[in-house]
């Protein structure tokens, strides 16, 4: 097992090239934010007429060099459909996509060698062993790292003689990740990389992804685990019904939902709940729920009010917003796009 301190192993293949390009971009004042840029991407399944299905309905965002950008959303939100266009597997129905400055579909031959792609589901012949799979995949890459090294990155070194069909779901996921890392990619696409992993393997995968980021790799990730996005993402977007409905840093997206304070008024209390600035109040019997954008201000005012009237507030609970609440609010909402971007003008709905 060797999960820590391998900056030498992690580095992307043409690190020197990458750095040179980066410096060149700095010197001539090029916009370095756009390792990936997506403008008004649309994707449609089925016929062009009324019987088709719009999986992606006008999505725009960009991913900066060296950051991790996460796409969140319920099943069918359009995450994988978006990823497949970025990966160059299919052309967009409309809109433009640039990866490393090129069209990933039409200029596949130029872009691909710099990408690592981990699909949502495996795709290796079940009758090959782990080592044979690695040898095959390495044989198709221009500048692969040694197979043993890639397997070691995901702790599969001791399973190299085992047939893929005999691996556990989590081990297959790790083999997938190892193959995506085999070409020392500059840009890594991970579609639900930790699905089926036990908590320990998930933590280790997070550690590995962080090391890759530290070494300069750009990562686009989809996940169903909100704590995974919170843990890893520099910026994220929540998709719903083919559109981006929230985007920003994890903290910004979380803050798009109001904070909540709930309590119970004492039995027999006749005091009306005060009107507090910027606060929505809902009262059900004795239970009161306050929703506010400024938790501290509202909470201070509330407690001051209760003190001045000698009220004991039962079951008092105050919670700041979380990504999870923002996510569930989106999943429950209608399909209207809500633009909550602050300071993220390049991440637009």
């Amino acid at each position: 097992m060797s999960w820590g301190g391998r900056a030498d192993v992690i580095g992307t293949g043409d690190g020197a090239h990458g750095r040179a390009r980066w410096f060149a971009a700095m010197l001539i004042g090029m916009d370095d934010t756009g390792v990936i840029t997506v403008r008004d991407l649309r994707r449609r399944y089925g016929s062009k007429g009324g019987h088709g299905f719009d999986a992606v309905r006008g999505v725009s965002f960009s991913v900066r060099r060296g950051e991790l950008f996460a796409l969140l959303g319920t099943n069918g939100a359009g995450k994988t459909s978006t990823m497949e266009v970025l990966e160059g597997l299919v052309p967009p129905a409309q809109g433009t996509v640039r990866v490393l400055g090129r069209d990933p579909f039409r200029e596949r031959a130029l872009v691909r060698r710099r990408l690592g792609i981990m699909l949502q589901e495996g795709g290796f012949p079940p009758d090959l062993t782990v080592a044979e799979t690695g040898r095959m995949w390495a044989g198709t890459l221009s500048a692969p790292r040694p197979v043993a090294e890639a397997l070691e990155l995901v702790s599969l070194g001791d399973r190299s003689g085992v047939a893929v069909r005999s691996l556990s779901g989590g081990e297959r996921r790790r083999l997938d990740l190892a193959m995506a890392l085999l070409g020392r990619p500059e840009v890594l696409f991970l579609d639900e990389p930790t699905t089926g992993l036990d908590p320990q393997s998930r933590r280790r995968t997070w550690l590995l992804i962080r090391e890759l980021l530290a070494a300069g790799t750009t990562v686009v990730l989809t996940t169903h685990y909100l704590e995974e996005a919170e843990e890893l993402a520099d910026r994220l977007a929540i998709m719903h019904q083919g559109r981006i409905v929230r985007a920003g840093t994890p903290a910004q997206v979380a803050a798009s939902q109001p904070a909540r304070i709930s309590f119970q008024l004492p039995a027999g209390s006749r005091e009306p709940v005060p009107e507090l600035a910027g606060t929505r109040v809902s009262v059900t019997g004795r239970s009161v729920l306050l929703q506010t954008q400024d938790l501290q201000l509202t909470l201070t005012a509330l407690l001051g009010w209760a003190n001045s009237r000698d009220l004991v507030l039962g079951a008092l609970d105050a919670r700041s917003t979380s990504l999870e609440e923002a996510f569930h609010a989106v999943a429950a909402s209608a399909d209207e796009p809500i633009n909550v971007n602050r300071n993220t003008e390049d991440v637009a709905a």
Binding site: L89, R112, G123, P126, M136, T140, A143
Partner: protein, 272 residues
């Protein structure tokens, strides 16, 4: 290291990717016992069926060796190339292997060729074995025009590999392949001239037979190996090129149509 990679030519990299894929596919073929057994039993089945029907035997036992090689070429193209490849492509598609391969640097053509290579290698090995057996056991004479036999083999392989790609469009699972491959197996074989000499067919049927993909392969093989036309006329080398024109054109047309249809309809991932 990276300097070496830059100087490595495009075709060498392509050959490297092709080799890596065909090596893996070859490993899988060797692990599939039933497919291998089929490949080994094929020559035996062929010899018996030819003795039983004897469609080609009409021109005399002197040409039995050539007949054996011609018949085995047809069988190899149908079973070892076409059937094996439909099964292999459908299996890799349903296992998401084709989709995964497309996420790498490998081109679509390399993926197809790499997957097809072991099946084609088996087919050609069977034909070589049959040719050696024909010379040693039946005293087959030197081919009248070896170029035509080679053209038949190469174009025939291309046609049936492409037909396999097209057949995967209507083949959802490996099991269904046993049914979906039947039309291409039966119709071209029945009218190939191997079972019933073309000359004995009534007219509209004879023209149809000549337009099917296996008939020109059989005609070219017979022409190349023995210098004999379907009608039984012996030709010299120069005249045999002339007689080969129409079968070669038919095969070229099938190749073009197969390539077009495969590009148009081939699916790289399962239907959802």
């Amino acid at each position: 290291m990276s300097a070496g990679i830059v100087t490595m030519s495009r075709s060498r990299q392509s050959a490297r990717r092709f080799a890596a894929l065909s090596r893996a596919e070859g490993l899988l073929l060797r692990r599939n016992r039933i497919a291998l057994l089929n490949a080994l039993l094929l020559p035996v089945v062929l010899v018996y069926s030819l003795k039983a029907f004897g469609g080609l035997g009409a021109s005399g036992s002197r040409d039995f060796g050539a007949m054996l090689v011609t018949g085995l070429t047809a069988f190899a193209l149908l079973l070892a190339v076409y059937c094996n490849l439909v099964t292999a492509l459908v299996a890799r598609r349903e296992q998401l292997v084709l989709k995964r391969l497309r996420t790498g640097e490998t081109t679509d053509a390399e993926i197809f060729a790499g997957t097809a290579a072991p099946a084609i290698a088996v087919a050609w090995a069977q034909i070589v074995v049959a040719a050696v057996a024909a010379v040693v056991m039946f005293g087959m004479a030197r081919p009248a025009n070896a170029v035509l036999a080679l053209v038949a083999l190469v174009l025939g392989t291309a046609v049936f590999a492409l037909l396999a790609a097209v057949s995967t469009v209507v083949t959802r699972t490996v099991e269904i392949a046993q049914v979906t491959t039947l039309p291409v197996l039966i119709i071209p074989f029945a009218l190939s001239g191997l079972l019933v000499p073309l000359a004995t067919l009534p007219e509209p049927l004879r023209s149809v037979a000549q337009a099917l993909p296996l008939t020109p392969v059989v005609e070219l093989m017979r022409l190349g190996l023995t210098g004999t036309t379907a009608g039984g006329h012996h030709l010299g080398v120069a005249a045999s090129f002339g007689a080969a024109a129409i079968p070669v054109l038919v095969l070229a047309a099938w190749t073009a149509a197969g390539a077009w249809a495969a590009r148009r309809w081939f699916r790289w991932e399962p239907r959802r």
